[in-house]
């Protein structure tokens, strides 16, 4: 890897923040959230500095920074991606649901929010309950302030007979696909990277298609039914990717693989091997064979027991530079050690960004950045899963401040 960008970085002005400020911030890293804070603590809380001080000026533009990471060069500093379409919508005053219904507002919200917080903007969307609506079930849009994403009202399959009768949907018309295509067309018009919002994990989508409780039972008692649902959901993903490739060309399209149901909070590593891996092998082969530009592989939640299998999957099928995104449950040191050839993304705990004090946010972000910077193939700071829509903007800005204070590569 060449080092030309960090060499340029050495002529940058020195950080504008005051030396004492970091010290005071780190004093504030204790948990100030406890309900029964003493009077002393209360006074200290009031007197703690707010998140002040300018940001160190960047050397690269956002586009240059992301490009550098993608091609394996060292950028000026760690990029910071907002993993939060819903947060962005709320941040600019739209209801959260626009990111699933209105391509224009979806992009606008994310571009504006990226600009506001000085992050590398991402403009796509996607949703974790993908598969129910697309195969004929019903979802509802987030409607109360307690909701951040579409919820499944009725799965597509409610019995074994339903599954036997189920066919692949028309890919251009299925569920959320018209909106997701609308988003990609707008990305193209604006000259932005084109991301396919189809969630590329057959197991997660199959569980959504048939209801996760039913899918779990089938894995144990009727694996042939689970595999039938997986077959359909894999074929659907391939058709959808092909639709994007036909429309934009493989070399311009990135896809997302969001492995959620495979978390060990639900399934065993053995089940992961039987119900997740074979279909991921197919999809990864497909990515390689079609020459899709990039893939974001989100390893959601507690997946420590699955990592050796993901590593093998990756070694066996790798072609494009894969971005691997980890939740806070996976230690970044371990992620970097196991996946030295991947761009590592993550892994700040979303709940802390939503509920934590700015001091706590600053501290956990610092830790993620300092670990992440040692990733040989590069690192992108993100939350470990969706940035909660209700997270205070101040905490997101605090993440950005930590990137400025700790993220430069010199």
């Amino acid at each position: 890897m060449t080092d030309q960008f960090s060499a340029r970085g050495s002529s940058a002005p020195s950080p504008v923040l005051l030396a004492g400020q970091v010290l005071e911030w780190s004093l504030g890293s204790e948990n100030l959230n406890s309900p029964a804070g003493s009077a002393d603590q209360e006074v200290r809380r009031m007197s703690l500095p707010r998140c002040v001080g300018g940001l160190r000026p960047d050397i690269m533009t956002s586009a240059e920074r992301m490009e550098a990471v993608m091609v394996g060069l060292r950028p000026d500093r760690v990029p910071f991606n907002l993993f939060g379409a819903g947060f962005s919508a709320r941040n600019v005053g739209y209801p959260v649901e626009v990111v699933y219904t209105d391509p224009q507002k979806c992009l606008r919200a994310q571009l504006w929010t990226g600009e506001q917080f000085g992050c590398e903007p991402t403009t796509g969307t996607g949703y974790a309950s993908y598969g129910a609506y697309e195969f004929g079930g019903e979802i509802r849009m987030p409607r109360s302030r307690w909701e951040s994403a579409p919820s499944i009202v009725r799965p597509a399959v409610e019995s074994e007979e339903d599954l036997e009768k189920l066919d692949l949907p028309d890919v251009k018309d299925a569920g959320m696909i018209p909106t997701l295509m609308g988003i990609s067309k707008l990305q193209e018009r604006l000259g932005l990277p084109i991301s396919c919002g189809i969630s590329g994990d057959p197991a997660t989508n199959a569980a959504n298609m048939v209801d996760v409780n039913r899918f779990c039972r089938w894995m144990v008692k009727k694996p042939e039914l689970a595999h039938r649902a997986l077959r359909l959901s894999t074929d659907h993903i391939i058709q959808a990717w092909d639709y994007w490739i036909e429309t934009f060309g493989a070399e311009r399209v990135s896809v997302g693989v969001y492995v959620t149901i495979g978390a060990n909070q639900i399934m065993s590593p053995k089940q992961f091997e039987e119900f997740v891996i074979p279909y991921q092998v197919e999809l990864h082969d497909r990515i390689r064979d079609t020459g899709i530009k990039g893939a974001m592989f989100h390893i959601c939640g507690e997946q420590n027991l699955n990592l050796p299998m993901i590593r093998e999957l990756y070694l066996g099928t790798r072609q494009t530079p894969f971005m691997l995104s980890f939740g806070h449950e996976v230690d970044l040191d371990r992620a970097i050690e196991m996946f030295p050839d991947s761009i590592i993304c993550g892994n700040v705990e979303p709940q802390i960004i939503q509920n934590g004090t700015p001091q706590r946010v600053y501290e956990v972000t610092r830790i993620a950045i300092e670990k992440g910077k040692s990733a040989p193939r590069g690192f992108i700071l993100m939350t470990g899963c969706d940035l909660p829509p209700m997270a205070p903007g101040y905490n997101v800005w605090t993440m950005r401040k930590a990137v400025s204070d700790f993220g430069f590569y010199d």
């Binding site: 406890s34 302030r145 307690w146 951040s148 919820s151 009202v153 894995m219 399934m267 089940q271």
Partner: protein, 223 residues
């Protein structure tokens, strides 16, 4: 009347039936309990519940995961449905009452169902409100049933924000109600911050926590 050896065989069969999630076997043996005049209470406690306790250990040791536990739970309920109507009055006495549900805005219910099952097995009377439960509904149900415990589940970072709200609402109407919270984004620290009385890291631990909460209440002379 079954011989002691036959009784042992049946209880062991019920235990194994739950652990091996063999629903047919549990149904067959539960019917044998009734036909052969084995004590239904013993069959539940030393057969089904003991089996489920072992399942809890298997889960804690990562030998079983959610899919297996769901199947064990099916087998367990198949037995409970047959045996429970045959408990004598005193045996049917409950250890406590719990209102349980996944909070408004959240349709995830696997975790909630597992906790519910553990409460059932531990002898609690469970009032299951389901998922996506309006916050007022928790308050109403607690008042209506006079349950000692309200157990709240949330899987999403957004819906977890409903928890402090509903805790406040319940405590305003009944300061003695004990609230337990659990779900993927919840930690002990979050539970404390939200003013919950208990935190369930997983289904097995929920019941231990609940039993402690109920005995705390009883010491206070409330229950």
């Amino acid at each position: 009347m079954a011989t002691e050896a036959r009784k042992k065989e049946i209880l062991k069969g019920l235990y194994d039936g739950v652990v091996e999630f063999d629903e047919d076997k549990v149904v067959e043996l539960s019917n044998a309990v009734l036909a052969e005049d084995v004590d239904a209470y013993e069959a539940i406690m030393d057969g089904l519940a003991a089996g489920m306790e072992h399942v809890g250990d298997l889960y804690a040791n990562q030998e079983y995961f959610v899919p297996e536990v769901l199947m064990c739970s099916d087998a367990l309920y198949a037995g409970l449905d047959i045996l429970r109507p045959h408990l004598s009055g005193k045996e049917a006495d409950v250890r406590g009452q719990v209102v349980i549900g996944t909070v408004e805005g959240d349709v995830h219910d696997i975790g909630k169902n597992l906790v519910k099952m553990m409460f059932d097995v531990a002898g609690f009377e469970v009032h299951d409100l389901g998922r996506d439960v309006k916050l007022e509904k928790f308050v109403e149900e607690q008042m209506k049933t006079d349950s000692e415990i309200v157990a709240l589940s949330a899987l999403m970072t957004t819906s977890m924000l409903a928890m402090p709200k509903v805790i406040e609402m319940i405590k305003a109407r009944n300061p003695d109600a004990m609230i337990m919270v659990g779900g993927a984004p919840i930690s002990q620290e979050v539970a404390d911050n939200y003013g919950a009385d208990g935190y369930a890291q997983n289904a097995a631990n929920a019941v231990q926590e609940a039993i402690q909460m109920v005995s705390r209440l009883r010491e206070m002379g409330k229950a």
